[in-house]
C-alpha cells in the first residue's frame, strides 16, 4: 500500500517537473568568440563506412591552411571531428555533444544520408548553419531548410547526365544498371530512367545489390544475360571491385559507367588490380593531378601538413565542402553572427574553387547540379571526356 502511494507521488512529481522543464532550457555556449570560430564535422572514422572518414579530415586541412594564413578577420577556426560510425544514433550524440558542450557555430560536410537526416532538424531548430553535407539527398534542400546549404550534386542529376552521355556520345542502345539498394542507388536508378524516357528507351536490366553483400556472381550473370553494352554502377567502392572482378571472370565486358562516388581512380585502379582502366565516371571535383593554382596550393599544403594522408578524391572533397563557408566568413567581416553568415551564404553566386560552380539564393539551397565526366586511362590517369555539365531535366530548379 505504502509503495503504491509512493509511486503515485513520484508520478505526480514527475509530471510536475515535466511541465516545468518546458520552460527551463539551458543556454548553449556560443559558437564563436573574439579569437576563434568553432566548426564541427561528423564522419565515420570506424566501422564499415570508415573509408569515407577522410572527408572530415580533408576539411581539417583547409582550416589549417586558413589558420596558418592568420585566420579569418582575426579569428582562428577551431575544428572538431567526431566519429559517428555511420550510425544515426551516434551522429545525434556527437552533434549534440559538440553543440551543447563545445559550442559550435557551424557544421561542414558530414558523411551520409541517414546520419544527416537524423540531425538536420536539430541543427535547424538550434539555428546552426550546416554547409555542404557530404551526401546527396533531396530532402536536405527540398523543402528549403534555411540553415542548410548543399553543394553535392544530386545522384539523380548525375545519373541523368551520365545516361545522356551514354546514349548520345557512346551511342549505346542497351543500358543496364547495378545499384545499391538504398537512397544513393535508387536515386541513380530514377535519374537514369528519367533520362532514358526522353529517348523512349528503357533499361535492359535493373539489378539491386545489398550494401553489405560480398558475392555478386548471380547479379553479374543477370546483367550479362540481359545483353547490356553499358552498365551504370551505383555501388560502393568495395562492391565495384567485386563487380569488376566477377565480370572479368565470367567474360562480361561492357562499358562501365559510375557515379562520382567511385571517381578516385588511383584507389580504384589499385584495388581492382588495374581492371578500373576504361571506366567512365562522373566527377564533381578537379582531378587530383590538376594544374589549377588552387589545386596546386592545396596539394602542396597537404604534403606539408598531413603527409600521412593519401591525396584522394574523398580527402580533397573535404576541402571543397569547406571552401564556401570560409569564403562566406571572409565576406561577413569582423561583425560575425548567424544572421550575417546566412546572408553571406545566400548571396554566394557562381563561386568555384576546385569543384563545380555554386550558387545559393535565399530560395534555393541546392548549390549545383554540375558534374564532369572523366575516364580512367592507363595507370589510373584521368582523361577528361566532358567538362562541367548541368542536368537540363533537373526538377528542383523550377
Amino acid at each position: 500500500m505504502m509503495f503504491r502511494k509512493k509511486m503515485l507521488v513520484s508520478l505526480f512529481a514527475a509530471l510536475a517537473v515535466l511541465t516545468v522543464a518546458n520552460i527551463t532550457q539551458a543556454a548553449q555556449p556560443a559558437g564563436f568568440d573574439d579569437n576563434e570560430i568553432r566548426i564541427g564535422q561528423w564522419g565515420p572514422q570506424t566501422g564499415p563506412a570508415a573509408p569515407w572518414g577522410s572527408v572530415a579530415r580533408g576539411s581539417k586541412l583547409l582550416f589549417d591552411i586558413v589558420n596558418e594564413e592568420g585566420g579569418i578577420h582575426g579569428r582562428k577556426i577551431k575544428y572538431f571531428i567526431r566519429d559517428d560510425m555511420y550510425n544515426p544514433a551516434q551522429t545525434v550524440a556527437v552533434v549534440k555533444e559538440l553543440v551543447e558542450r563545445q559550442g559550435i557555430f557551424a557544421f561542414v560536410g558530414g558523411v551520409g544520408s541517414a546520419p544527416g537526416m537524423a540531425v538536420k532538424d536539430y541543427l535547424a531548430a538550434n539555428k546552426i548553419i550546416w554547409v555542404s553535407p557530404s551526401a546527396a539527398d533531396k530532402e536536405f534542400t527540398q523543402p528549403l531548410n534555411p540553415y542548410l546549404f548543399a553543394v553535392y550534386p544530386l545522384y539523380k542529376d548525375e545519373a541523368s547526365i551520365l545516361a545522356k552521355y551514354i546514349v548520345e556520345k557512346l551511342k549505346t542502345k542497351k543500358i543496364g544498371i547495378l545499384y545499391q539498394n538504398d537512397a544513393y542507388g535508387k536515386d541513380g536508378l530514377e535519374g537514369a530512367k528519367e533520362r532514358l524516357a526522353t529517348y523512349k528507351m528503357s533499361l535492359v536490366a535493373e539489378i539491386p545489390v545489398e550494401p553489405t553483400e560480398k558475392d555478386f556472381a548471380s547479379q553479374i550473370l543477370r546483367l550479362k544475360n540481359s545483353g547490356a553494352e553499358a552498365v551504370l554502377m551505383y555501388v560502393s567502392p568495395t562492391a565495384a571491385v567485386i563487380t569488376l572482378k566477377t565480370a572479368a571472370s565470367v567474360g562480361f565486358k561492357p562499358q562501365w559507367v559510375s557515379a562520382n562516388t567511385l571517381s578516385d581512380y588511383p584507389l580504384m585502379f589499385k584495388i581492382t588490380g588495374g581492371l578500373w582502366e576504361g571506366v567512365i565516371t562522373g566527377a564533381f571535383g578537379e582531378t587530383p593531378d590538376s594544374k589549377s593554382p588552387l589545386m596546386v596550393k592545396y596539394r602542396d599544403a597537404a604534403k606539408r601538413l598531413t603527409p600521412q594522408e593519401r591525396w584522394g578524391t574523398f580527402y580533397y572533397a573535404g576541402i571543397l565542402f569547406a571552401d564556401p563557408i570560409v569564403e562566406a566568413l571572409k565576406k561577413v567581416g569582423r561583425n560575425l553572427s548567424t544572421e550575417a553568415l546566412l546572408k553571406a551564404l545566400n548571396s554566394i553566386k557562381d563561386y568555384q574553387t576546385i569543384g563545380p560552380r555554386i550558387t545559393w539564393t535565399p530560395k534555393q539551397h541546392q548549390g549545383t547540379d554540375s558534374v564532369m565526366i572523366q575516364k580512367c586511362g592507363p595507370g589510373a590517369s584521368y582523361i577528361m571526356l566532358q567538362d562541367w555539365t548541368t542536368n537540363d531535366l533537373a526538377t528542383w530548379k523550377k
Binding site: M1, M2, F3, R4, M7
Partner: protein
C-alpha cells in the same frame, strides 16, 4: 485396487532392451521399492513414469488415466513428483526458490500479474505469501531453516538431496518417485531420511516409489519390493520374501560357483 499401475512397459535404446515387459501395481499410500543392480533399468522406469522417455510399448495408469504420451509437465500436474539420482536442482537459485518452484503448478501468477507486484495487496504478492507459508512448512519439516536463503550450489551433497526431496514434496504429489535418496549420505543422515520418508508417507498422504541400494533401509520401510535385472522383472513381493529369493541374491552377489 488399481491406484497406480504399470503394464507391459518396454523401451529399447538402439536395439538394447533397457526395460522389457515390466508390470506392477502400487497400492495407495504404500511404499513400493524397486531394487536391482546398476544398469538394470530402474531409473529408466522412473524416466518413463515421469514422461522423460516415451515407452515403446505399455501403459502407465494412474487414477484411471494413461500417462503414456503426456509431457513431463502434464504428468507433474497429475500429481507425480520425483527426485533424481544425480540431483537435478536449480543450482543458481536459493533453497527457498527451489522449493517455491515446486509450487509451480499450484500457482497462477503470469507475466502480467507478476510484473504488477505492486505492494502487499496485489494478487501476485498474496499468492506468493500463501505459497511461502507452505514452503516454510516443508523447510521446518526437513530441518532446512539454516540454509533457507543459501544458494543450492554452495550446499553439501546430503543437504542438496534433502532440498530435492523438499522440492518434490512442494508439488504436493500423490505419487512420489525417489531415485536413490540416500546415495552419498552418511549413516546419520540416512537414519534421518528413513524417518522422514516414513513421516512423509504418513503425513502427506502420498504413495512412494523408491529406488534404493541400501538394503537395510529398503527392508525397513518398504511395503512391497520389486526386483529387476537386465530390464526384466525377477520377482515382486514383501520385503522378507525378496530377501530370501535366490534370483535376487544372484543378481546382487553374482553367480555362486
Amino acid at each position: 485396487m488399481d491406484y497406480f499401475k504399470v503394464e507391459d512397459l518396454c523401451i529399447s535404446f538402439g536395439g538394447l532392451k533397457a526395460v522389457n515387459n515390466v508390470a506392477f501395481n502400487v497400492e495407495k499410500n504404500s511404499i513400493f521399492s524397486i531394487i536391482g543392480p546398476n544398469g538394470s533399468g530402474k531409473t529408466t522406469i522412473f524416466n518413463m513414469i515421469s514422461g522423460i522417455y516415451k515407452p515403446d510399448l505399455g501403459r502407465i495408469v494412474f487414477a484411471g488415466e494413461n500417462l503414456v504420451g503426456l509431457t513431463p509437465d502434464r504428468i507433474a500436474r497429475r500429481g507425480v513428483a520425483r527426485t533424481f539420482q544425480n540431483i537435478e536442482l536449480f543450482s543458481n537459485a536459493t533453497v527457498m526458490d527451489n522449493l517455491l518452484l515446486g509450487r509451480h503448478i499450484h500457482m497462477k501468477t503470469g507475466v502480467f500479474t507478476g510484473a504488477f507486484l505492486w505492494g502487499r495487496g496485489s494478487r501476485a504478492a498474496r499468492e506468493e505469501i500463501r505459497n511461502r507459508e507452505i514452503v516454510e512448512g516443508i523447510i521446518d519439516f526437513l530441518d532446512l531453516q539454516s540454509v533457507r536463503n543459501h544458494f543450492v550450489a554452495s550446499l553439501p551433497y546430503g543437504k542438496r538431496k534433502l532440498v530435492e526431496v523438499g522440492r518434490a514434496l512442494a508439488v504436493e504429489p500423490k505419487i512420489l518417485l525417489l531415485d536413490e535418496p540416500s546415495a552419498g549420505m552418511n549413516t546419520e543422515e540416512k537414519q534421518d531420511l528413513n524417518i522422514w520418508i516414513k513421516d512423509i508417507q504418513a503425513e502427506c498422504d502420498v504413495t512412494i516409489l523408491l529406488i534404493e541400494h541400501d538394503m537395510n533401509m529398503i527392508m525397513g520401510i518398504s511395503d512391497r519390493i520389486f526386483a529387476i535385472n537386465h530390464g526384466e522383472k525377477i520377482m515382486e513381493g514383501l520385503p522378507q520374501e525378496v530377501q530370501s529369493h535366490p534370483e535376487v541374491i544372484k543378481a546382487y552377489l553374482g553367480e555362486e560357483r
